[in-house]
């Protein structure tokens, strides 16, 4: 009897992955019938997002309509779609955590726990205990600069260095009313130094684009010299030979763990699930690393030149702080910076 139980246990162990795989197989079949998904994505640059979408299409033959915008624009579109009963977005990937808190509370998200959720790095697991949203990308807001025009010793080392008058007309930032990265950065700066940080920054007349990735263009063009930028898009551009480098601020870089979730009432629910699984695959992590993102899968090493987050000081605001704080700082920003 005991032996039988043991046998059953062993069999179960052997079969468990099989059954999971069988589930995935069934999911894949169902997904292929749906044929396509629409992905609102702000985690990556347009190129990174297209790369991921293309890889998914290549593996499964399912078309991905990649709609890459800044987080707030993506969220606004999603809400507008929902309000008009035209939910076209299947998978929603924003960089503003508050969006997920609000969407979840409003019952707008589909609960789905990816089969591969246990395979990602422990640091990213169990992000939403209820399983409505799952981290699928990670990056940081750091200090970035044009390495051809600024010597390393002159570069800003901590966030308050950006307030130095020597950077007047030389600073670039994104806009918190568009970018989730910028919103989270502004929120964190307010927590560390109070709003007077931005009143001082305003005196340096920063050029404010919309996306945080706009800082990359501003630096490469030599239009601006230093920026609060994203490590991923900056280092990716540097790897293409552009004169860019990053400093991990001594007072802490902002760790951005950005989730994805399936939208309730999605038109392609199976394809959306399969896509969530795909975002947790080794392949997706490899593409992410190609774009200098932090890999979610422990099997994949971080991009060359990036610092593992265990080695540097990082700050990460909580979901609650972001949910409440970003709408506040957008208004404050507009009052201080004029629009």
């Amino acid at each position: 009897m005991k032996i039988l139980a043991r046998l059953a246990f062993v069999a179960a162990l052997a079969l468990a992955p099989l059954s999971a795989r069988a589930d995935l197989k069934a999911l894949e079949e169902a997904a292929k019938k749906e044929g396509e998904i629409t992905w609102y994505i702000s985690h990556y640059t347009a190129e990174g997002a297209e790369d991921l979408g293309r890889a998914f299409t290549k593996t499964y033959g399912i078309k991905v309509n990649v709609v890459r915008t800044t987080a707030q624009v993506a969220y606004q579109r999603l809400l507008q779609d929902m309000k008009n009963n035209q939910t076209i977005c299947d998978v929603f990937s924003s960089t503003d955590l508050g969006h997920y808190a609000r969407l979840k509370a409003g019952g707008k998200l589909e609960k789905y726990i990816p089969e591969s959720a246990t395979k990602i790095d422990a640091a990213f697991r169990n992000f939403d205990p209820d399983g409505y949203y799952h981290p699928t990308a990670a990056g940081q807001v750091v200090l970035t600069y044009n390495s051809a025009k600024v010597k390393p010793e002159d570069t800003p080392k901590k966030w308050t260095d950006l307030l130095d008058i020597k950077w007047k007309d030389k600073v670039s930032t994104g806009h918190p009313a568009f970018s989730g990265y910028v919103g989270t950065w502004v929120l964190t700066m307010r927590r560390l130094y109070g709003w007077k940080y931005f009143e001082s920054l305003e005196k340096n007349k920063p050029q404010t684009g919309r996306s945080i990735n706009d800082t990359v263009t501003a630096l490469v063009a030599g239009e601006r010299l230093v920026a609060a930028g994203a490590d991923g898009s900056t280092l990716f551009s540097a790897s293409r030979g552009n004169p860019l480098a990053v400093n991990y601020p001594t007072d802490g870089s902002i760790l951005m763990i950005s989730p994805s979730s399936i939208v309730r009432g999605a038109k392609h629910p199976n394809a959306a699930r399969l896509f969530m699984e795909f975002l947790y695959s080794i392949e997706a992590s490899e593409i992410s690393v190609k774009h200098f993102g932090i890999p979610l899968r422990p099997e994949v090493a971080g991009a060359p030149g990036t610092q593992p987050i265990s080695k540097i000081k990082v700050i990460r605001p909580t979901v609650e702080e972001v949910e409440k704080g970003i709408p506040e700082v957008i208004e404050q920003w507009r009052d201080t910076f004029g629009n």
Partner: protein
């Protein structure tokens, strides 16, 4: 006897069948009128109603107005727009009036070439111009600044596109063709006799121009200036690209903010009212001024028109024309091409900076960019076709006075002219996005909005063409027993083929680049090229942006060529075009 009998029988048969067809024709008229109600009246009514409605309940409220005008920032944006409009009109006048005078009245060399360059300016969408000027006049990296620093050895250059002045310059550079069109049209009617009279009385060329020629064209110039002002305050693309980094708002970018998260259509509607009011008012003023037709320069006498001899001055004038063209065409396109072929635009002209990657990316790698261009062309042709057919029908009803109060229909057709694109889009959104019609995110809502936006162009062309058509020919059809519809299809349309084609192109070309009404109405599957370009500009990828903008321009060229072949070289620069 027998012969007359047959005729009588046939005639009575014709009467019967005509009466039968009359019904169907009437149905068609009713349909056309209904379409007009849907396209013009309903969005407008919804716009006004919405501005007084509470968001969820729909109850009457004034709180939208309180919100819309409740902050200093919002009020500032209103004044910024007014300042912008005045600045643009003044600067565009400075660009356009000398050019128009030189082209229409003098022996300046390269007049045809200058016209061509004005046309090139005219078909450059405002956002393409804005992107090009960011490359030229970004405060540190802009090419003009670099050149200045290189020549003078200075630390910094004088130009800053990210400023109020920068925005004025960019908009003026791409809206001066409106003034040019109005002014040349008027100047070409001024006969040389008046100038001769001034010359005989001792006035030189300049004095004659100042005191005689230009004053004669003044009403037209004023009309052009007003159109330019309205164009500037209604524009969304250039302010979005330049005013956001320059950190100020104008009405249109503020409206875009109200459309942000959460979407406050009601507040946006309330905030759009001054824009609408100013536009209606100024269009009325413009009509009053231009209705005076100057000082009766249009006499029946075939006044002789000779070009004025400028002597050596003609080269100075030519130099000025080329200067303006450099600012609006040569420099922008040189650097657009450079940027579209560059790995990083700031690294300049060197071999290791050249790549075709940007074109490859926007055409083949990007899942939606190429599709967005296709969407633009499909929607534009659908709208152009719809607008031409509708306006032909209505112009026919109006010119042939087929229904009582036909003039009202004509008025409705030109009414969208006074509704700025963003405001029109808000009206459409309020009227058709929510249930029962639920057109949100569909191609149809974009096509309807584009059709409405360009109805005036269609109508002006169709009614001008119809007026030149003697009704006798249609009457012949009717006498022979054909219905009105048949007359329209078999006689009127074929005779007007050319004008209709012209109207179609005049609608199609601007519709392919329309942004201000598309920005509030597109859905994820109905993105058009202009919205794609605007989205791409978020990340500041000017290399991709330039590539996509150039692709869009190149695709227009065959149509332009075709239009010029079929309709004459200046078909886009005629008065009826605006």
């Amino acid at each position: 006897m027998a012969v007359t009998g047959t005729v009588a029988v046939e005639a009575s048969a014709a009467v019967v069948s005509r009466a039968g067809r009359w019904d169907t024709t009437w149905l068609l008229w009713i349909a056309v009128i209904a379409v007009l109600l849907v396209l013009v009246v309903s969005p407008f009514v919804y716009l006004v109603l919405t501005s007084f409605q509470a968001e969820r309940t729909g109850d009457f409220t004034l709180s939208n107005y309180a919100t819309a005008y409740g902050r200093a920032r919002y009020i500032d944006a209103l004044f910024n727009s007014l300042k912008l409009g005045v600045g643009v009109a003044a600067l565009a006048g400075l660009f356009a009036i000398p050019l128009a005078w030189a082209v229409a009245r003098t022996d300046m060399p390269g007049r045809g070439f200058t016209r061509m360059l004005v046309l090139a300016t005219f078909i450059t969408p405002p956002y393409t111009g804005a992107v090009a000027w960011i490359l030229l006049a970004a405060p540190n990296a802009g090419w003009l600044n670099r050149f200045y620093m290189f020549v003078t050895g200075a630390e910094a250059g004088p130009f800053n596109i990210y400023s109020f002045t920068g925005l004025v310059v960019v908009i003026a550079l791409y809206s001066f063709p409106y003034i040019f069109i109005f002014t040349t049209a008027a100047l070409e009617l001024v006969s040389s006799e008046m100038e001769d009279a001034a010359n005989i009385l001792g006035a030189g060329t300049w004095r004659t121009m100042r005191r005689v020629t230009l004053p004669l064209a003044l009403p037209a110039i004023m009309g052009g200036l007003i159109i330019c002002f309205l164009e500037a305050i209604a524009l969304f693309a250039s302010p979005a690209m330049i005013a956001i980094p320059a950190r100020f708002n104008v009405v249109t970018t503020q409206l875009y903010q109200f459309f942000g998260n959460p979407v406050r259509v009601e507040v946006a509607a309330a905030y759009a009212m001054p824009l609408l009011g100013v536009t209606v008012l100024l269009i009325l003023v413009q009509r009053l001024i231009t209705a005076r037709k100057g000082f009766a320069t249009l006499t029946g006498k075939g006044g002789e028109r000779r070009p004025i001899r400028l002597g050596p001055w003609r080269w100075v004038v030519f130099g000025y024309a080329m200067l303006v063209a450099s600012l609006s065409v040569f420099l922008p396109y040189i650097f657009l091409v450079q940027s579209s072929l560059a790995r990083a635009w700031g690294r300049g002209f060197s071999l290791d900076n050249i790549t075709l990657r940007n074109f490859d990316f926007v055409l083949f790698e990007h899942t939606t960019a190429a599709q967005s261009v296709i969407n633009s062309f499909i929607y534009a042709s659908a709208s152009a076709t719809a607008a031409v057919l509708i306006t032909l029908g209505i112009a026919y009803i109006v010119t042939r006075r087929l229904v009582p109060f036909a003039e009202v229909l004509g008025f409705l057709c030109v009414a969208p002219f006074v509704i700025p694109g963003v405001v029109l889009a808000i009206g459409f959104y309020a009227a058709y996005a929510p249930p029962p019609l639920s057109l949100y995110g569909t191609a149809l809502i974009l096509i309807l909005a584009f059709t409405t936006r360009f109805l005036p162009i269609g109508y002006v062309n169709a009614s001008a063409a119809l007026r030149s058509l003697n009704p006798e020919m249609e009457e012949a059809v009717r006498v022979l027993g054909g219905s009105r519809l048949m007359a329209l299809r078999r006689v009127v349309a074929p005779l007007l083929k050319r004008s209709l084609l012209g109207a179609w192109l005049l609608i199609f070309i601007p519709a392919t680049r329309e942004l201000s009404s598309a920005i509030f109405l597109y859905g994820p599957n109905t993105k058009v090229a202009s919205v794609m370009i605007f989205d791409m500009s978020e990340e500041g990828n000017f290399e991709y942006l330039s590539a996509l903008a150039l692709i869009l321009q190149v695709l227009i060229l065959p149509l332009l060529w075709f239009g010029q072949r079929a309709l004459g070289r200046d078909f886009m620069l005629r008065r009826t075009a605006t």
